[in-house]
Amino acid sequence: MSLQVEHLTVYYQTLRGDVQALEDATFTIEDGEIMGLAGESGCGKTTLGHSLIRLVPPMRYVRGKVKIDSEELPIWGMEEMNPFRFKKISIIPQYAMNAMNPTRKIGKMTEELLESRKVSFSDTLPELKRRLDMVELTHDVMNMYPIELSGGMKQRMVMVLSTLMDPTLLIADEITSALDVSTQKAVAEMLVEFRNRECCNSVMLITHDLSILYQIADTIMVMYAGQLSEKAATHTMIHSPRHPYTKLLISSLPKVGVKYAEKRLKGIPGSPPLLLDPPIGCRFRERCPVAFDKCLDVPPFLEIEKDHLVACWKEFERDA
């Protein structure tokens, strides 16, 4: 098991009170697993991803435990986390296009970064070059400034840089969101390639784009308003979801062969709750077509079939 998260709760501090962006998340990522983390904007998926590597104000650690390779991660401490960053856990940020210092040559920056982590640059160089080949970047990029690269090249460079220390877990935050569809596919496949060649053990791919996940993810985890809703293998998730939110989410996706001029795409009525003062119990309750009294309590995130976890009272009842 490469990542184990237990009861992780992270809030955002604001003047008007805590925004409860991540509530009681418990899940695991297996070795070699590419887990897609999906959900709409503001559901807490980026909060979850970032809190694992760089938990800074206004984010506030409330409780919970994170283990990587059975070793506990001190995610609450900015300094304490440093030995783990890059080597055990790494990130391809959402802002990959601006992630490199504009006034340093990429090679020089890489060298300074590695040396600052007490890693010899000259020893790493052959591997770095091999990986540049892997993502089809010329070795000349090392002598270039970030501004001389195109957006896609910068993205690939950051992918290489982030995975250079073969981290156990790679967090890929919205890495396909700013790209056109054909580049999206290429980047997604590169990510799989990285995993296959063990440049990283497992991947947490944060996105709101379910179609990308369908193509490359082994499992999908869906979040709603700061709570985990469902986690299952990709195929199961797409074809037989159990949580009412996931069902509605999947059914609102366009399908091949259906003409939407004749049949309007269905959405989910209502909008997500504000997390400054979220409703008690299941946060999907107010939009849920099958909600009942029991939903005033927070449903636990339970395994109802093998490797299929759901947080819904109705589903527990049905199975019982």
Binding site: P93, Y95, A99, M100, N101, T103, Y145
Partner: protein, 330 residues
């Protein structure tokens, strides 16, 4: 590269032409007549004054039509002739200016460079901790918002009058003749200190605030966050932030060096320090067209030259301009 510079040069020439034209126009918009002004001080008899008026008007070239005056002005300028000062008649303007410039350089170069260096160091340092930031930043804001002359007057009052430690007027004691001796040097330094301190303090506040804000901006930039996420130590993140934050500060430095010949008008007036600023005020009060023109000409050349230097320096230190420029030529 060539095209870049020739285009820049063209812009500079155009700017120079326009600025000098405005410089020529401005004194002539002032109400009054410089020659009349000069003669009234001489208190001549009416008929003598009339003769003298005709003579001086001709001597200053003010008797020809205004368009011709303008052409004559350019012609003289290309021959290095800035005219004769009305206020310090008959000294040529060039000579008057050259006498004042060393004082400006002596006063302003140290105060600008030191306040820039110290302000940047201090600002970067202040951005480091909340405690420092909360104490130093308000102080910086107060300093930079302080008018030069007010601070000058305060310093002159406190150190000059209350404590009696420093002289408050002139560049050296009135009873001394400039010569090379320790006594004279010590005297000059003592006269220099208060104007220097007032310029330094105000400049220091501004630089420190600017640097502090830039550093905080850079520390919140994406590349800083990325380095942190990869566990880079604070020293590396700060090093990068400082290097990038100092770029706009260099522009500021070059621009303030460019107006150096303008002197620090109000400071020099407060301390009667005989630099160009002091001269400019006297020139305006006496409607000395030629001296005003000369002072402004120095400022124009200084600013343009400083800008030109920044353009070149930026090419050397900021890869983004370099690529931008190459993209332009390609």
């Amino acid at each position: 590269m060539r095209r870049y510079f020739s285009r820049k040069l063209l812009i500079y020439i155009l700017t120079f032409f326009l600025a000098v034209t405005i410089d020529w126009l401005i004194p002539r918009f002032m109400p009054g007549d410089p020659v009349q002004n000069m003669l009234s001080r001489a208190m001549l008899r009416a008929d003598a004054a009339e003769v003298m008026y005709g003579y001086y008007t001709k001597a200053f070239g003010l008797d020809v039509p205004i368009g011709q005056q303008y052409l004559n002005f350019w012609n003289a300028l290309f021959h290095g002739d800035l005219g004769t000062s009305v206020y310090m008649f008959p000294t040529p303007v060039t000579k008057v200016l050259l006498r004042a410039v060393p004082y400006d350089i002596f006063l302003l170069i140290p105060s600008i460079l030191l306040s820039w260096y110290a302000g940047n160091k201090f600002g970067a340092y202040a951005a480091r901790s909340k405690w420092l930031d909360n104490t130093v930043s308000p102080l910086g804001y107060v300093l930079t918002a302080t008018p030069y002359m007010w601070l000058g007057i305060l310093l002159a009052w406190f150190f000059g009058i209350v404590l009696g430690k420093f002289p408050i007027a002139g560049a050296y004691s009135f009873n001394l003749v400039p010569h090379l001796s320790w006594m004279f040097i010590w005297d000059v330094l003592k006269h220099w200190f208060l104007p220097f301190a007032s310029l330094f303090l105000v400049g220091f506040g501004g630089q420190a605030i600017g640097m502090r804000n830039m550093i905080i901006y850079e520390l919140e930039a994406d590349y800083s966050h990325y380095l942190e996420a990869l566990g880079a130590p604070r020293s590396l993140v700060r090093k990068y932030a400082f290097r990038n934050a100092v770029l706009p500060q260099i522009t500021g430095l070059a621009l303030s060096l460019g107006v150096i010949v303008a002197g620090a008008l109000v400071t020099e007036v407060v301390f009667s320090y005989p630099g160009i600023g002091y001269l400019l005020l006297a020139a305006i009060q006496n409607q000395d067209y030629f001296l005003i023109q000369g002072c402004f000409l120095f400022i124009i050349i200084g600013v343009l030259f400083a800008n030109f230097v920044i353009d070149i320096v930026y090419l050397l230190i900021d890869p983004r301009t370099r690529t931008g420029m190459m993209g332009e030529t390609a």
